[in-house]
Subunit: 432 residues, 2 copies
């Protein structure tokens, strides 16, 4: 397989690592292998690299150093954020309530389902609108006195729709102000303040003020490359991302946790990461992540502009060639690199494999329910009639995700569209 023939259009699934990041990681591999907890010179130097990285991330997010927790990646971020808040909230609510949406990442969905199944929490899944965007008023309406957490992703991984995080944050702030006026709530706040200062693991972070539930968390994994990430401007209490989607190392994530937010832990051990996330720090990946984030921030505006143009060109051309193809998700609030389409009456996995044979790598989410495979709940959420679209051949209309990236050129897009045309022509003969 010649490298020149590869057209990688699966950047939302995983990005290649930037060469500069690899070079940096190699320096750490060779020179700074010590345990950052060691008190000898090499340990101190390694620890300083981790702490400098923390400061760099904090500066980029508009946060304080002590608000940045390094983790093992996106799945751990979502687990730690949700289970961590729930753990602490149990002290004050006999039946904690979580508000989320019906298009969150599987790791958010699975944590919520687990909490429901084990009766640890009640969960409201706010339905997305047909354009793939959440209405902030629907979030507001879902809030209850026992709501401890609102978890809404910043941008969707399948259809790339961007959620109104600022507006949701505003609704939550209003709700909290109302809550604060209630006596009952103030009592819990005092209890909470006692809890966080009682010498347990969380007290390593500087808790000075009371925190009023609910906590607002956003999974920014897909958004971080293209959208603003200043946590103060966004108004979020927690935000997370990882290296795997920003041309960085795969095994490292960041969870921003605003001071005073009560967060328990999901793993136990050493006192690393302010006592919230134990385990020897992964220095090379942490330093690599910072470099990847810096590069992403530097080119964010220009690259977003370039990709919006390229994506719009892609979509325009694909629609002009195929009258039956539909774009999933609205065009307005959409990540610059996301093209998600439905091609009716053809199995999407077959199209992915045909494209792959031509060196074009994309992702599929089929709404197919035949056999063992499960369809996309995201596509179902924006397309309530999809159940009706099942064909005689036993599969539903699938979806294809083309996610563009730094290496994607107009030539790649043209070749992809040309190839797709050939493939559809061929497959339609079989399936007609």
């Amino acid at each position: 397989m010649l490298k020149s023939k590869i057209i990688y259009l699966d950047y939302a699934s995983a990005t290649p690592i930037d060469k500069r990041v690899i070079a940096t990681m190699n320096v750490i591999f060779k020179k700074y292998y010590a345990n950052p907890s060691a008190i000898h010179e090499l340990g101190v130097k390694t620890s300083k690299l981790v702490e400098d990285s923390r400061k760099n991330i904090a500066d980029i997010l508009g946060a304080q150093n002590s608000e940045i927790i390094f983790t093992g990646g996106a799945t751990e971020n979502n687990n730690l954020a949700i289970l961590g808040v729930l753990e602490k909230s149990k002290n004050f609510f006999s039946k904690p309530h979580i508000v989320t949406t019906n298009i969150e990442h599987p790791s958010v969905m699975e944590v919520c389902k687990y909490l429901e199944k084990t009766k640890q929490a009640e969960v409201t899944y706010v339905s997305v609108e047909e354009d793939g965007v959440i209405d902030p008023r629907k979030i507001q309406k879902a809030l209850k006195p026992n709501t401890v957490l609102v978890s809404v992703m910043y941008a969707n991984n399948e259809i790339g729709t961007i959620q109104p995080i600022k507006e949701i944050a505003k609704e939550i702030r209003h709700f909290r102000k109302k809550q604060e006026k209630q006596k009952d709530f103030l009592r819990s706040s005092v209890l909470l303040a006692q809890d966080v200062s009682s010498g347990d693991e969380s007290s390593a972070r500087p808790f000075k003020n009371l925190f009023v539930f609910p906590v607002f968390y956003t999974d920014a994994t897909q958004a971080i490359n293209y959208l603003p990430i200043n946590v103060l401007k966004l108004g979020v209490d927690m935000l997370s991302f990882n290296g795997d989607k920003i041309y960085g190392p795969k095994d490292v994530g960041v969870l921003y946790v605003k001071k005073n937010v009560p967060l328990g832990k999901i793993m136990f051990g050493g006192n690393q990461e302010f006592g919230i996330r134990p385990g020897t720090e992964n220095t090379a990946s942490i330093v690599g992540l910072v470099e990847a984030l810096k590069i992403a921030e530097k080119i964010k505006e220009k690259e977003s502009e370039r990709l919006v143009k390229l994506r719009n060109y892609f979509i325009k051309k694909i629609l002009s060639q195929n009258s039956d193809i539909e774009i999933n998700g609205g065009m307005e609030k959409r990540l610059p690199n996301n093209v998600n389409i439905t091609i009716p009456k053809l199995p999407s996995d077959l199209i992915v494999i045909e494209l792959s044979a031509r060196g074009i790598y994309i992702s599929e989410k089929s709404a197919c329910k035949s056999g063992e495979r499960k369809g996309s709940y995201v596509i179902k959420a924006i397309c309530p009639t999809s159940d009706a679209s099942q064909t005689a051949s036993g599969f539903e209309n699938g979806s294809l995700r083309f996610s563009l990236g730094r290496e994607t050129s107009k030539v790649d897009v043209d070749y992809t569209i040309k190839s797709l045309k050939e493939i559809l022509k061929k497959l339609k003969k079989w399936y007609d």
Copy 2:
């Protein structure tokens, strides 16, 4: 700081990454960055690398592929093993009981303390003998009908003592046979078999037979470089290690879970790792870990012999020069690379820093209780009189750990002993 002047004697804390492993990881970084879940060619190739790695690990351990779970490292291993077994055992025991020792790694200790604190389990901490080795009969005596897990580390991280894993496994097998004869227990076994085949997350692994509690788990993180790791010969049900201690990548671990062992999960999300450990697989680190393990296996015997000689030379020389120095832990059942000593009446952190200034990097565990710092519970466990040894200057007798490794030569050892002599001479003047 000239590299030639560094004498790194902190291999038990973290190993440098082998150059061959770094080279391999760089190939993965550049070529196999796709998400192993993707169905296009690059995804399939990446997935194959992960699965080949699993097979390689399984072959080395004498296990089956489906018994190997890749994780994020040693702390996660210990958390997943203990919390995972406990989660499943709750279905059958109203008050599960765990047997462990008083010299386990902090991540095992902290998980156990958490379970005790939250009243989820009762824990027995079997006391180590004065030579730092656990008596298998004491483990056997601690077993109860509601014991669901026995967790004993293979070799201790501080004093390097090797635990009689085979013998403990034998005691547990005898106990299980007795248990099997009891009607009550058989009833739970049947329930358990129903549970694991009921379509929940664990059913992705091939459970065919009943499993009889307790599960026997060993944390082999420190042992893996030097001791036999065939899981069948050891007789363990679960075993774990990571890359960080075998000259491999820092952020990846392996948990061997014998088929039929009921294991819940601690994080929720995708169906990776047989549904037990969600999150995109960390391909570069997984492949790097396999290469590191292969190298370790290949040189295990020779390197162990070399280090035993070097370690014995080190100890002999250090004792001959300083009559008041004591070796912590017995000499017979001890990792080839571990030298742990107590130097009475001197603060161990100061010695570490003095050595560091001379380019010698070692680790300390002080039994000091002054100020915020906590002493070593391992040293306390083997030295019950240590409380009495507190000096007028406010600190207890500390301990120093010199852990040798692949780059350690006799010249390094000589230079270290010479430097230590100078430092002790200087410090004794101050503290006398």
